[in-house]
């Protein structure tokens, strides 16, 4: 097996994606892992969450409880009798997600026990605790004593701490550190000597365990607390109020660090941020030293944003010189901290990058950001920061880490490729398609071509991309004011998609996640075969934004079907309605089945043993009658619908070779038009970019 870079699955001890197809099944099953972690069904033990009424404990009680419920794992919540009811507050969310019946069923499996923090309740033993997820306050001595109490009572219990700062070596237990919001964020940073069944179980339950090294504070906390600290330093340098800094940080990088603290709950979040930075500064020095403002707000528990009756009155703006300083104050430390994460090999580079995007709202992961800047520009930015804050230059600065930027681990943050000499696999580890993915996909194709691989499977990475949501619409913001920009994006991405068809004798796309929408579906449709998990939702929701599908969605799928099947595609395109993969076989997908069946079908196609015939792409021009019954649309959708209909007609009315240009031109024109600017993308752009 040859790989461009290490598969992220391998970090979980789950092999490669190529291996999944070759073996025709997933590397582990949930049932096996539940048995390993909680014991066999006839002697199933319980999961205990201590601090169960806290923000983390209650959130994880719901996230894990809903997933483990079908396997008969009792969820025991342990907390002080005086703790406010955090678990009960989760019920509304459960009901929204699972319906009343589902929510009641999940809650019926939750047992709540009180304790005094010293001795465990005697009844706890009745539930045979096998796994403790500790979510109690961030005080090292208390945590250690807590583990001792459990171990003295339940000798073989496996323990994980959700700590956001203490290393495993200090705690004496493994770490499973989840990201906010805890009910829905699937990512867990895991610290353990080697991938354990409990970590693999998280993966099998559809969560995102990410192994990281054992250091003070984990990747998310370094990045997020680091960003908060950087923003605070800018505040100290400029007086700019927190609410305004948030706007500039959001425009530049994505997150609103101060608002996030208030949203999480300032009292707890301020303490955690302070605690993280306090410990980091103790180990690494002034780069991480909390500012007095943070010290104060940690003590007071006050919000960062003003109270409603003091909504900001005086606006702030920045000159070009101010913006330059802002970048150095805010971006400089983040880059320096990232050099530390790299130096300490805190995790797989794709993990470090993805954590920022998935958990800290970075529009582009921190490594992808550095890659776009270029190593030398990033180094110069840190040096500019050091001129403003000389104390930070005294340590923890490893510029040579950035000089490794051309290595495959840096170059393939989102897209990987593997091959066995005959069949290649391209995996996409980002849910939304953007220019980084596009560039990496091209490099992956080049890499396979160089190895003379002409059979390829294109799929998600079975790790980060549990779904494929379409194009990253943030990439379209510049196109709102520039037809050429939109046209170039459409033409460029379409050209990449065409390579999946043109550059391989056999190409099979496999949609393994919950959904595949918009640009991602357009990309996957370019493969010669399209296979999907039967429950996957497929759709082209562009009309609802509105925007014209820019990666040949307006003609490519129509060229692959007989005329009588085109109305189904037209309906998808013109209404944005989605379809289950199991209902789309023969006209949108070539095969839909269960996970194991679909994996096998993909491998058979890729290895040339399948009887499924390739649907060819009609090269010539043809007319598409638009006589299809459609429900009424809103004004914006109606405009989008008309534009998409026009694009369908015009791009189908020319040979395949010309269609790409027409689709790109019409897509670019529409993006720069009134309806797109007034639609969701325009609104998102305004919200993101307006300061």
């Amino acid at each position: 097996m040859t790989t461009m870079r290490q598969s992220t699955l391998e970090t979980l001890g789950l092999g490669t994606v190529h291996g999944i197809f070759q073996k025709g099944k997933l590397p582990v099953t949930t049932s096996e892992l539940v048995d390993q972690v909680f014991g066999p069904a006839n002697n199933r033990g319980a999961m205990v969450i201590s601090g169960a009424n806290g923000i983390v404990g209650a959130g994880k009680m719901m996230q894990l409880g809903s997933r483990l419920h079908p396997y008969g794992v009792t969820m025991v919540g342990l907390d002080f009798p005086s703790a406010p009811d955090g678990i009960g507050r989760q019920y509304a969310g459960l009901k929204a997600a699972f319906g009343q019946g589902g929510a009641e069923s999940i809650m019926s499996n939750v047992v709540r026990l009180n304790y005094d923090g010293k001795a465990l309740p005697s009844r706890l033993a009745d539930f045979r605790p096998r796994f403790l997820l500790e979510a109690i306050p961030e005080i090292l001595e208390i945590k250690r004593a807590h583990y001792q109490v459990f171990r003295s009572t339940f000798k073989d219990i496996e323990i994980r701490s959700v700590t956001s700062g203490f290393p495993s070596s200090e705690l004496g237990v493994g770490i499973a550190h989840p990201a906010f919001p805890h009910e829905i964020n699937k990512l867990w940073e895991v610290v353990e000597p080697k991938p354990s069944p409990s970590t693999q179980l998280l993966w099998s339950l559809g969560l995102l365990p990410v192994p990281v090294s054992d250091n003070w504070s984990f990747v998310l906390d370094v990045l997020f607390c680091g960003l908060t600290l950087s923003a605070l330093r800018w505040h100290r340098a400029s007086n700019m109020p927190y609410w305004k800094i948030d706007k500039y940080v959001r425009r530049s990088f994505g997150p609103n660090p101060f608002r996030a603290h208030d949203a999480i709950g300032a009292k707890g979040a301020n303490f955690l941020t302070w605690s993280c930075l306090h410990h980091l500064s103790g180990k690494y020095g002034p780069l991480f030293a909390p500012t007095p403002e943070l010290e104060y707000l940690k003590e007071s528990g006050q919000n960062w944003y003003p109270l409603d009756h003091f909504r900001p009155l005086v606006n702030w703006s920045m000159t070009a010189g101010d913006e330059e300083q802002f970048q150095s104050w805010v971006l400089g430390p983040i880059l320096q901290m990232t050099s530390l994460l790299l130096k300490e090999k805190r995790g797989h580079l794709s993990h470090i990058n993805a954590i920022g995007e998935i958990c800290a709202q970075f529009r582009s992961g921190v490594l992808a950001m550095i890659r776009r800047m270029g190593a030398e520009a990033a180094i110069k930015r840190v040096e500019a920061y050091h001129r403003l804050h000389p104390e930070a230059a005294k340590g923890c600065w490893y510029p040579d880490e950035f000089r490794k930027i051309s290595e495959p681990a840096w170059q393939q943050l989102y897209v990987n490729a593997e091959h066995d000499g005959k069949v290649g696999v391209i995996t996409i580890g980002r849910e939304a398609y953007n220019s980084d993915v596009d560039a990496e996909l091209n490099r992956a194709i080049d890499w396979l071509k160089a190895a003379k691989i002409d059979r390829v499977i294109v799929t998600g990475d079975f790790h980060f991309s549990s779904q494929m949501v379409g194009a990253d619409t943030a990439e379209f913001y510049p196109a709102l004011d520039d037809v050429k920009c939109g046209t170039d994006v459409s033409a460029g991405w379409s050209a990449t998609a065409r390579r999946l068809h043109r550059d391989f004798a056999v190409s099979v796309a496999y949609i393994n996640g919950k959904r595949c929408l918009g640009g991602m579906l357009e990309l996957m449709m370019h493969c010669r075969y399209l296979v999907a998990h039967k429950d996957a939702t497929l759709g082209m929701p562009e009309v609802t934004l509105p925007v014209i599908p820019g990666m040949e969605g307006c003609h490519w799928p129509l060229r692959k079907v007989a005329a009588e099947q085109r109305p189904r595609l037209l309906r998808m395109l013109l209404t944005g309605e989605s379809v289950k993969a199991s209902d789309a076989s023969g006209w949108l997908v070539d095969y839909a089945g269960s996970m194991d069946d679909a994996i096998k079908a993909v491998w058979e196609i890729a290895s040339g043993t399948s009887k499924i015939k390739e649907r060819t792409v009609a090269d010539g021009a043809f007319d598409v009658p638009m006589e299809v019954q459609l429900p009424a649309a809103s004004n914006g959708s109606e405009a989008g619908r008309s534009a998409i209909a026009e694009c369908i007609k015009k791009s189908c009315a020319v040979p395949l070779g010309e269609a790409i240009t027409i689709q790109a031109r019409l897509s670019g024109q529409f993006m720069a038009g009134k309806h797109c600017r007034e639609g969701r993308i325009g609104a998102d752009a305004a919200k993101t970019l307006a300061v």
């Binding site: 100290r236 400029s238 109020p241 403002e293 003091f310 900001p312 009155l313 005086v314 606006n315």
Partner: protein
């Protein structure tokens, strides 16, 4: 240059760490709609940011305002919170003298050694001034409603007379004639517009954009709204409201804020963009004259100040009078035998209005900028305040060795 003692040897006003909003006339700008205390706090934070003074350097805040505002009870601590900076402080007021009295209090605070960096923040909103409802069992109305700005201007309880009457009284006492007042008024407007044109006021005035509760722009305060160029003919044709008092020769109500710092010498050098400029307090004198003769009170205070310090008018490189009426300047010229053409060179409250609390703070800042522009020296500022009070203060602006 004559040497004098200084009342606060440890206190300095760091050059360039100051600023004022423009003063839009009452009811002409979004300032009419805001909590002026909150606005002042946020505006000071902004101005300090523009001046590269981190607000966390501030250790204490003296605020000055005269018109009640929402949550005034909480005074300086509340206003400081609007700067995201929790420091102690308190509130002072003396009608139109508030700005300079606040600076004096800050000087005393530094002199006492309690703090090294004291912020002075003065502000007022005359627009929509609040109405106080006072139970008055001894008044026939039993309950008395008082519009803070206009009812107070219209009635001095000590004399039973309106403010405007004192200007007419002083004009008559000193035999000021209308022709001189009209020329003086025109000259003051010319001075203001010349100062604007020269760019000197750009070092003082800071445009501020206001947001509504949705965070959307509500307008930019970037003009002394209500100020318009006048011609001599237009001034001459104005109706006389009292002797020598016309709409052109009296000030108008306005809204705004102004701020500066008072610090130790070390902090002044650290915080000022031009640390070589040394601004020190020299002296202050006060006087109270006969009922309803307020415009002569400042001149009496100046006479006291000169006598106490040994300085003469010839020693002053900048002379600024807070002049709600042109009569004030004319009376001063007569009493001190001083050419009114030589004073108020960068404009004055007669022209740019009268938001009460911050008025004198802006006068001071303009005076210091003017002094620096001429190479330093003594600065004389004097003013009147409600109750027929006059106050004068002298400062010394060293230019870092070019002229001492």
């Amino acid at each position: 240059m004559k040497q004098t003692a200084t009342i606060y040897p440890r206190a300095r006003i760091p050059y360039g760490t100051w600023g004022s909003s423009y003063f839009p006339a009452w009811q002409t700008s979004p300032l009419a709609e805001v909590n002026i205390g909150q606005f002042a706090g946020e505006a000071m934070n902004r101005i300090m940011g523009l001046r590269r003074v981190p607000v966390h350097e501030l250790e204490y805040l003296v605020i000055g305002s005269t018109i009640p505002w929402h949550w005034k009870f909480w005074t300086a601590p509340m206003v400081a919170s609007c700067m995201n900076h929790r420091i102690p402080g308190f509130h002072v007021e003396q009608a139109c003298a508030t700005g300079l009295q606040a600076v004096m209090v800050a000087g005393a605070q530094v002199e006492a050694g309690g703090q090294d960096v004291v912020g002075v923040l003065t502000f007022d909103r005359t627009s929509d001034s609040p109405v106080g409802v006072f139970p008055e069992r001894r008044a026939h109305q039993r309950t008395y409603a008082l519009s803070d700005v206009w009812d107070n201007f219209g009635f001095d309880p000590a004399t039973g007379k309106a403010m405007i009457g004192c200007a007419g009284n002083a004009a008559r006492k000193y035999k000021i004639d209308r022709k001189e007042i009209d020329e003086l008024t025109l000259h003051r407007y010319d001075q203001y517009y010349n100062a604007r044109k020269s760019g000197l006021l750009d070092k003082v005035l800071v445009p501020l954009e206001l947001l509504n509760v949705q965070g959307k722009p509500m307008g930019v305060i970037d003009e002394d709204l209500g100020v318009r160029r006048l011609t001599l003919d237009a001034i001459r044709q104005m109706r006389e409201l009292d002797t020598c008092v016309t709409p052109g020769s009296q000030t108008h109500a306005s809204d705004g804020m102004a701020t500066l710092l008072v610090t130790s010498p070390e902090k002044a050098r650290q915080l000022s963009p031009r640390p070589e400029i040394n601004i020190q307090f020299v002296a202050k004198a006060e006087a109270r004259t006969y009922p309803s003769l307020m415009p002569e009170a400042p001149s009496l205070a100046v006479q006291n100040l000169l006598k106490r310090t040994g300085l003469t008018m010839a020693d002053m490189v900048v002379v600024k009078n807070h002049n709600p009426f042109s009569v004030n300047d004319a009376v001063f010229a007569k009493m001190l035998n001083y050419d009114w053409h030589k004073m108020n060179n960068t404009g004055c409250p007669l022209v740019w209005g009268h938001p009460q609390g911050p008025t004198l703070t802006r006068v001071m800042i303009e005076a210091f900028e003017e002094a620096v522009s001429v190479g330093g020296g003594y600065v004389l500022i004097f003013w009147c305040a409600a109750g027929d009070v006059g106050i004068a203060a002298a400062f010394h602006v060293g230019d870092g060795g070019n002229k001492s």
